[in-house]
Symmetry: C2
Subunit: 840 residues, 2 copies
């Protein structure tokens, strides 16, 4: 029956073997064709007679053009005729034009990395669990459990706020000291012609602090690099990220971010707060701290499973965001939108509660730092709400805002593209620890040098007092009580710079200074993001946008006639409205870089503290997202893609109705019998990397072909082997084991190499019945991919067993089997791409 | 084996038959005991040998006390020993004390009404669907479909805003006319001693308009009564509500709410906006308007299925809320939090978009009505943002706010309890249409009479100009350019009253007026909610709260020493802070009555337009919710319970681990073979009320016992019968049918009585293969209830087939089978109650 055909492929002519099944009246489908070529992974599945018949009942079903493309980036398969080609062809035109100008849209690596595993969100209802649930049915336990969940959430909020306030205090004080020192040298040396002194000092301070910070992160826990938000989002999506929630990561993250900012890098402390809050939550949830020296303190173990920890972590991330931006609602949404499949109102209330506690406590602490703890006017570390006048907008300004949103989208996409190129470069060439540290130091020095150069070179003098009365202003060459206008932007933290751009008077910053600032800060931002230091990208994005938004404001002020009836009046703008344009610019730039979701929209609105003005902010955020998405993905998504983390989208990619569970499942399966020889288990764990094994009925007539009885996890088997819960055949297992024994190993389970078995023990038998999950979710092989996807995503599964009609396991669908399908487009056709799964 | 035992039950001694299975070492479980008593519905399921063995492996598993209680309100079963008894015993104490004071906590009817069906959210992937999907794979269709979804959402936003602005304009203008008229008579007659004239006139106007409004609602579409929010929430939860989204409901709702407010009822127009927006969305989504006279206009049919309509409706409800309160984020959350299981980011963006469009268009239109369409300062119908000074709060005020929240929770619970009693009374005695209309008229007259009485009786004169310069103020007996302070509260719409309470100067309203107002408005609010008129409960709740909040503010002002260091300074309060207390009071009262969820919190914060002050609002909303929940459910939930709508909670009730799928499923099943005789189908549809039928393999050896092949819906079968898609055995069906033929019947499918079949036709055979869903979700019988629940809720299912190990259907789990389990508590024990399912 097999036919070898020669087919025209992207990479030249290839031979493929087409194996048609059944009658010829059927259209060929992917199930029936095995493509034999490099890296092809399709397999053959026999099609049932009934399905065959079904297909024949659709006479009008057209025979689609089959197109196979195998290219250097993985196997891609599109057997559907052209879709959304209208959009994609336009997209292609733009790409071509971009190429002409040398700006190439990136092709993200089409791969997933196999090391990323799913969380075990699904509860394993084995006999041990039911036994424990019995205990919890006493009133004492239920009340205690309920109360402790709220108490943990409360503690998460309080501790996150404490951390936020401490970091805020330390950074502000030390940064002020540093810049005050530099300013004095600056002003003295401008007179005495020794300007090289402050320049060298500045670069020296930056270098030392940044190198220390980079070393801390690089050697203690590399997971603490960057803002951590891509990791947090992936974790909430259901991916286990080893090392993310450890004490080492906490130390590296919190100390690191202080050093990064003091080291003069273009970064903020807000993104890292979400990560720090998550670590606090995980630590409190587990009730155990593992110190760096291998010791640990343990308090309680009741919540030690992925399900509970993930819920607490949602509270921690929300608290972090809430502390950072004074945005309790935005924080709650931040945590929950990624975790959509698990949203429920009870959890939402708890997350909201911790988020509110964090916001309130931060407010209290920062007010206390500022002198009066009862004032309660600073609910977050960053606020945009110090506008002197009400933020009002007029219909006539909307087109200007939309224009700005388009700019924001385009420049944001440029930011992402440049950073992507840099990331790939770093992965290839700068992958040694000492090189990473040197690079960070270099960036810090260049930041200082460039800032110095601009301040001296442009020498833009102004006599307008800056908005912040504590701001450090250097005179440099300015006289008559004037000061260098760029000094208020560079002799401060990036946050102070953002605030100055938003709130300083109209005349404070001239167009030349602003243009120079935008260019420099944009490049520094691109260079800084992805360094091996703890840093956030929120504040630099906002500052870049605020600077060019201010430019637009100045432009509008000069273009508009001085007609008070028109609503936009230049003298009015001069008085109050330039900050408004700066704010819109900041939102546009952030939207373009991060592709704000609903939660980020709410965060910015909460941060601005003005809901009427929220409407234009929402509009520009949406438009900048659309414009940016047209060119490339957002910065966080780019990060996730580069790392090959298999996050699941919210919906199944389109055009997958033809694919069946049997097409996407991994197979063959490794299965165990309900009573399995220890040797078999040990060997299987050693040889295979599977994390879950179906348990099947022991059918002596057809060995290895029994009905599905349940699912057992690798972690469970390792604990059982370690605890030696087995016995010679026919005897009763000697020891008892409770669910707490499993928890003691959470979250870092054993490795198979840590298990030592004698030859006699290997001949024993393990009874898996009390331990396996007796009701794993299953689908039949003929289920379509969208249905499989909905089930998997909706229930937050890790393993979904595919069975045949007789309830015998045929294969397993895991996260990677679903995440590898992605919509791509090529030459006017929309196609489903299959990402490669690589080991590194 | 059967044993008849006499067991002590709540209603005296009863005989029950206990049928134990298997060995005696097993603890008896619900599966094994059949309670034979009145209304009991438990059934016997054989337990597999393996499960038997499993249970025996848990030696420490205690034998629980089995407790069976059958009481007058339905069968309740608690076989778990005391849980959360600590909480529930305290709850019980409070209940007892409340009883001593004559305030009894209500026992909501423990029942579900069988007429409520689920939506078909799950896509039926039959052959017809796959055929249609093929068509949509062309670029034209995909682009068109994508664009039209956004376009429909845009239109929903625009039309909702148009409606909102129109209602606003009409109500404001006419109400002003009405009250101006009354005021003139008032002022004239106070001098001429003919006050009975304005009183009678007022009552007369109210009577006529309200009776007209009530008649409209009662006769045109009773579903339009009330705010519609409980129905909308149920619909979003997945319950089909017939008549809710019809053109009749739209007319009754929109005209009705105008009449209710002009008729002087204590109600608002905000809740109804959510309902109106939903109807607009459903109409636009279906692309068809069915007019009252039976005619209809049809535009397109692509979105005619429950899945798409539900998504559009989420946009409509969000737009309605957004228009009403200027709260685009709150509106989005309102729609999506109830629909949590179906949340995905793509839909979220669309809903947010329509919500934003609605907000923006409302802003534009209302600004235009107010004279300048480019000002854009009124994003919603109701705003609390006209405070003259910044809303600041001080730590020292938090205890006062918490105290107020407790009051709000308690009085809110009282509101719900009283309204519940009234609702039950109405259901029993006031269930005729003409009585309903008379009651509405009576309430309108009493509202006028009481307002008149208070104004004349208290005669509280003030010379402070009201906040709203257009407000109608009557002098009545006041002289010296003073006016009656209550006239600013009563001679206006409830919205105007709320605004006056929030923003009027400190001296405007004296304590006596306020106390009288609170009492009267509370009682009127209770009486009005549930009348057969179109009305919202938001505004009256807020007004009651604002009034007593103002009282608290006055009290605080008088109690506090005039010490400026203390933060709360009475002279300060007099100047600016009384409105703050009014706002907090309003939030507390709303929280107590409605038990605000996250979305309502956001709505109020957005409405206040001040996020710093959002924090105390969030706190009081949470506390008032907790206090209220301790006593009774919220008003909307009470409504849902009284109507017996089977909404599903977010999580499975606790303590259900012991229940298996086989315990909760409905059985026996009505099944069809893949090729079924028309007569059988017709008879089954006529005799049974099932909405879905499993299709099984035709096994000649064991008839009626085949493997599961798929699931076919009642609606599909009715269409197939109507279109006569059958033929004599062995022939090919004569006609073709497409998925569009099914859509033409959406959403009002045929009744079986509309189908006419000859005897010859009845002997024909229908081939169900192309029509049934070939991959329905199934669970095995041993799945625990929490797992069944998660699957059902997470995927938004309507039918979940329970199979045995051989994949043969055993029973069906539907929404009511899960919704009937509810946690209750009785005599210190927490128990799982099973609600009765009744026909009416």
């Amino acid at each position: 029956m097999d036919e070898v055909q020669t087919v025209s492929l992207a990479g030249g002519e290839k031979e493929i073997t087409v194996i048609p099944h059944g009658r010829n009246t059927r259209r060929p489908s992917t199930e029936e064709i095995t493509v034999i070529g490099p890296e092809s992974k399709f397999h053959v599945t026999p099609v049932s007679e009934e399905e065959h018949e079904l297909n024949n009942r659709v006479p009008s079903r057209p025979t689609p053009e089959l197109k196979f493309e195998l290219d250097d980036e993985g196997d891609t398969l599109s057997n559907h005729n052209s879709i959304t080609a209208l959009l994609s062809s336009k997209f292609r035109d733009i790409q071509k034009r971009l190429k002409q100008y040398g700006i190439e849209s990136p092709r993200f690596r089409k791969r997933l990395v196999s090391k990323w595993e799913s969380l075990n969100y699904d509860v394993c209802e084995n006999v041990l669990y039911i036994k424990e649930q019995e205990k919890y049915k006493s009133k004492k336990w239920v009340t205690l459990r309920w109360l402790s969940k709220w108490l943990v959430m409360f503690s998460i909020g309080i501790m996150t706020a404490l951390l936020a306030a401490t970091i805020h205090f330390v950074v502000e004080k030390l940064a002020h000291l540093k810049f005050d020192l530099i300013k004095h040298y600056f002003d003295d040396c401008a007179k005495n012609n020794c300007l090289y002194q402050p320049a060298l000092m500045w670069m020296g301070i930056n270098l030392v602090i940044t190198v220390a910070g980079a070393a801390l992160v690089t050697f203690l826990q590399p997971m603490a690099a960057g803002s951590g938000i891509p990791y947090i989002k992936s974790y909430l999506n259901g991916v286990k990220i080893p090392g993310l929630l450890t004490f080492r990561a906490f130390v590296a993250k919190t100390l690191g971010v202080v050093m990064s900012i003091l080291g003069g890098l273009a970064c903020g402390k807000e993104g890292p707060m979400a990560h720090s809050g998550s670590i606090i939550a995980a630590g409190l949830g587990r009730g155990r701290i593992n110190f760096c020296n291998g010791k640990s303190i343990s308090f309680y173990s009741a919540f030690r499973n992925d399900h509970e920890i993930r819920d607490f972590m949602a509270g921690g991330a929300a608290s972090g965001v809430s502390s950072a931006f004074g945005a309790p609602i935005g924080g709650t949404l931040f945590s929950l939108e990624e975790a959509a499949s698990f949203w429920n109102q009870d959890l939402t209330w708890r997350v909201f509660f911790s988020s509110m506690v964090a916001c309130f406590a931060t407010n209290f602490l920062i007010s206390a730092i500022n002198g009066d703890p009862t004032k309660l006017t600073d609910p977050g570390l960053v606020r945009f709400n110090a506008f002197k006048f009400d933020l009002k907008f007029d219909l006539i300004e909307i087109p200007v805002f939309i224009f700005m949103a388009v700019i924001g989208g385009l420049s944001g996409a440029l930011f992402v593209v440049m950073n992507y190129k840099l990331t790939v470069f770093r992965k290839r060439y700068l992958n040694k620890n000492w090189i990473k540290i040197i690079e960070a130091g270099l960036v810090a020095m260049v930041s200082a040098a460039v800032a110095f150069g601009l301040m001296v070179g442009i020498n833009d003098c102004t006599d307008k007092a800056p908005f912040d009365s504590h701001a450090v202003t250097a005179a440099v060459y300015c006289t008559d009580k004037k000061h260098n206008s760029l000094s208020t932007l560079f002799l401060t933290t990036p946050e102070g710079c953002l605030k100055a751009l938003l709130h300083d008077p109209f005349e404070s910053h001239g167009p030349v200074s602003l243009v120079a600032f935008v260019l420099i800060f944009f490049l520094l931002g691109v260079w800084t993001y992805g360094l091996s230091v703890s840093s956030g990208v929120f504040i630099p994005s906002l500052a870049i946008g605020a600077a060019w938004g201010r430019l637009v404001g100045i432009g509008v002020a000069h273009l508009m006639p001085e007609n008070p009836n028109l609503g936009v009046n230049s003298s009015l703008i001069k008085q109050l409205d330039v900050g408004k344009f700066a704010l819109i610019g900041a939102a546009c730039q952030l939207g373009g870089i991060l592709r704000t979701t609903i939660s980020l929209t709410v965060i910015i609105v909460e941060c601005t503290d003005d809901i009427s003005f929220g409407l234009p902010i929402m509009i520009v955020l949406m438009i900048s997202k659309w414009v940016g998405d047209f060119i490339t993905t957002g910065l966080y998504d780019m990060n996730v893609e580069v790392m090959g983390i298999p996050t699941l989208p919210f919906e199944c990619p389109p055009l997958c109705d033809d694919l069946r569970a049997s097409d996407v499942m991994s197979h063959p399966l490794a299965t165990f019998k309900t009573k399995e020889k220890v040797e078999n288990i040990y060997r299987m764990l050693k040889e295979e990397t599977f994390c879950g094994f179906p348990v099947i009925e022991d059918d002596p007539m057809a060995p290895g072909k029994g009905k599905l009885k349940g699912l057992i996890l690798r972690n469970q088997l390792l604990v059982l082997l370690k605890k030696k819960i087995f016995c010679p055949e026919g005897q009763v297992p000697p020891r008892n084991i409770t669910i707490k024994d499993f928890r003691d190993f959470y979250p870092v389970y054993l490795k198979v190499s840590e298990i030592d078995l004698s030859d006699e023990e290997k001949s024993y038998v393990m009874d898996l019945k009390p331990y396996y999950n007796p009701s794993p979710y299953t689908v039949e092989q003929k289920f379509s991919l969208p249905r499989v996807f909905n089930l998997f995503r909706g229930l937050g599964l890790r393993h979904l067993i595919v069975t045949d009609e007789k309830n015998m396991p045929m294969g397993m669908v895991t996260r990677k089997d679903l995440a590898k399908f992605r919509v791509g487009s090529k030459r006017g056709l929309v196609k489903i791409e299959q990402l490669k799964i690589e080991d590194k």
